[in-house]
Amino acid sequence: MSSSTIVVIGGGPAGLEAARGVAELGSRVVLVEKRDFLGGTPVAENYAGLTPHMEEAEPAMQRMAERVLSNPLAEVLLSHEVTSCEGEAGDFQLGVAGPDGERKIECGAVIVATGFQHFDPGRETQVYGYYEYPDVIALQDLEAMLKDGHVVRPSNGEAPERLCFIQCVGSRDRHIGNEYCSKVCCGVASKEAIEVRRHLPGCKVFIFYIDMRMYGYWESEIYWPAQEQHHVQYVKGIVTEVIQRGDKLLVRGEDTTMGRPMEIPMDIVVLSVGMEPSVGTRETAKLLGLRQNKYGFIEAASPPLDTVSTSREGILACGAALGPADLEDTISSAGAAAMKAVVLVRAEEPALAG
């Protein structure tokens, strides 16, 4: 029997936008979230300010959550996971399990919004010492410190005088197998660089990169201010080694502009880690029988003109579950997924429209 309910799997920004869209379009939506809170990675990883305008992440996610929670057509299931999926487009039976037990949800369409996880620097080809040195941290670690209002060297609790970012960690690498660019890290690192410079005006900030990729308005909103107002130093030449000497971290790379090897002491090294499919994305893809690309992300059926359909009819995906995405991409694809899902269920049940 067909159903006009839509299930959204994942309660991060993509899932929240998709669920809100579905509900405000007048269809019933059930949002299934594994964690016991909404907001996804920006909340779980304690992001400080969203790129590019540095709006505070947690309140922004809370506002998105509010709009879903307050809508009578939306049901939110926290601490729940999807355990099975049967049926076909228009007529799915989704098994979910939570603290109160299991139940089956009848739905006409499913939107997968299970997102990404940060690349684990332990797998990096270069030698960055993330697991050896307390002062080597990742982008999200710095976000947490910025949110806390204290950027310090984990080794001694003191404010850093020299801080650097190393780009492309875990991305664009044939050995690791992540041959793609993670899209957001140049912008995010530059944003964090600006935040650090504001927070600690005495701290020199460097960014070591292969290419600087801030597309569209991010160029003028982030890149130029970072250099011109905040004097962040951009060095074209990625780093190969981070190793301790005395109480500093030595960062080794080539300054390709000058054409010579460089070895520079730093207090904090921030690894700009890339995006990989989350455990939830990989598990959900397998459970729902969705084709994944060779990196494990859910494969969009026919980009660039259809970015949200998957290999299985009736199941859509949005946000970083499909691949590296910034928030603008995520919100846009969530809207597209909501629209397509609603169209699908209404086609099956025209009497229920409106």
């Binding site: 909340v43 332990g122 050896e132 949110k147």
Partner: protein, 395 residues
């Protein structure tokens, strides 16, 4: 919700590899080619130990029935190195073959002068592997460069059908089978695998010895996935060989800021352009080690590295550089810890940098030991004995 720094440090305590991220295993193609009739794979014999490698794959290291693929540089001018490897294996009770039917891998010459080509290099490798398999023993590679080079040859043979064909034809004219070992095993991987057995036979106290480790480029940078990385050693972020053995013996392993740097051997440079080698060994390795770690001994696991770091110190001293530390292979160090004679087994008289302070720290009376060695030499000189034998050195 804020996160204190402690939470961050706790999160970074230990690297746990995600099993979903295992890369392709070359063994699949290795065995497929055997099925296709292109070559035979010599299986790792039992008993063997499984060791972890860089991307999480398990590697088999055989314990016994080993065919010692010797290093020309070791046997040529630091023979205590190879002697120690044999001595340890004898002490642990594993029988082995020391073949005459073995050529040098010839990679030193290849990397130095390029007076060879891919087919010749591959043929030399496969000829040695064939000799091992014909003897019924499994090859154990002594030199770091041989090991790295053979890994490279394996990758090329897997990749290029044409090269396989050419090399197979050359071997056929020699009447030799076309055999590839299941794993290419370096002796330092063997010592890693038996380090607990070595420690169980330890008789000399190493707890007062400070060690710096120099890992050989060719061991872990060539075909980088096929090298030992152990989550309990450097958190799995640096290769575990040598260090794990030193730690098992209770020595204090200290790090320094040029750990990943090449020693500067250069293959050609150390022979005909030594200012490069010497500068590198002194300024990027020995001086940094002395300044930052002040070791009693530098341990490494490759012929070229021992040679470079040991022999470069003399001229550097004349320039009043901060040098002067013993350089040994971990095999010689482990042998000393197990009670080996510093001259009859470890043959330290072939070394250049002063090793006597190290021997003192190990509680070895080197004057006495040298006198004993001189006694043995007298017997050889007089013709009373022809050679020093394994029986003489309690092997």
């Amino acid at each position: 919700m804020t996160i204190p720094v402690d939470e961050l440090k706790r999160k970074k305590e230990r690297f746990e590899r995600d099993p979903e991220t295992l890369p392709e295993d070359f063994h699949e193609q290795l065995f497929q080619l055997e099925e296709d009739g292109e070559w035979t794979i010599q299986r790792v014999p039992e008993p063997y130990v499984e060791v972890p490698t860089k991307y999480g794959r398990s590697k088999k290291v055989p314990m016994a029935h080993l065919w010692h693929h010797k290093s020309c540089g070791q046997c040529g001018h630091i023979p205590g190195y190879s002697t120690s490897i044999f001595w340890i294996m004898r002490k642990l009770g594993y029988e082995y073959e020391d073949p005459r039917d073995q050529t040098s891998c010839t990679a030193w010459n290849y990397y130095a002068s390029a007076t060879s080509n891919a087919a010749a290099q591959a043929a030399v490798a496969m000829r040695n592997f064939a000799a091992a398999s014909e003897s019924g023993y499994y090859p154990l590679i002594h030199c770091g460069t041989s090991y790295g080079h053979y890994k490279e040859v394996r990758a090329e043979l897997l990749r290029h059908a044409e090269l396989r064909r050419e090399v197979r034809d050359v071997l056929a004219t020699l009447g030799k089978p076309f055999v590839m070992p299941e794993e290419i095993v370096h002796y330092s991987e063997y010592l890693y695998a038996v380090r607990d057995q070595i420690a169980a036979q330890q008789v000399r106290d190493c707890s007062r010895v400070a060690v710096t480790v120099h890992p050989a480029c060719h061991y872990y940078k060539l075909v980088e996935g096929d090298a030992i990385y152990d989550p309990d050693v450097y958190g799995g972020q640096r290769t575990a060989v040598v260090t794990a053995v030193a730690e098992a013996l209770g020595a204090e392993v200290r790090t320094y800021s040029t750990w990943f740097d090449c020693c500067g051997f250069g293959f050609r440079h150390i022979l005909v352009q030594r200012d490069f080698t010497r500068s590198f060994a002194t300024q990027r390795k020995i001086e940094v080690m002395k300044e930052e770690a002040n070791p009693d001994v530098v341990l490494t696991h490759d012929t070229g590295c021992v040679t470079t770091l040991d022999k470069s110190q003399f001229a550097a001293k004349a320039h009043e550089r901060n040098v002067g530390v013993a350089v040994l292979s971990e095999a010689q160090f482990a042998a000393l810890a197990m009670g080996a004679h510093p001259y009859k087994v470890c043959q330290l008289h072939w070394h250049s940098a002063d090793y006597r302070p190290l021997l003192e720290k190990l509680g070895i009376d080197w004057e006495q030991a040298w006198a004993e060695f001189q006694e043995s030499l007298k017997k050889l000189e007089s013709g009373e004995r022809q050679y020093l034998t394994w029986d003489d050195v309690d092997g």
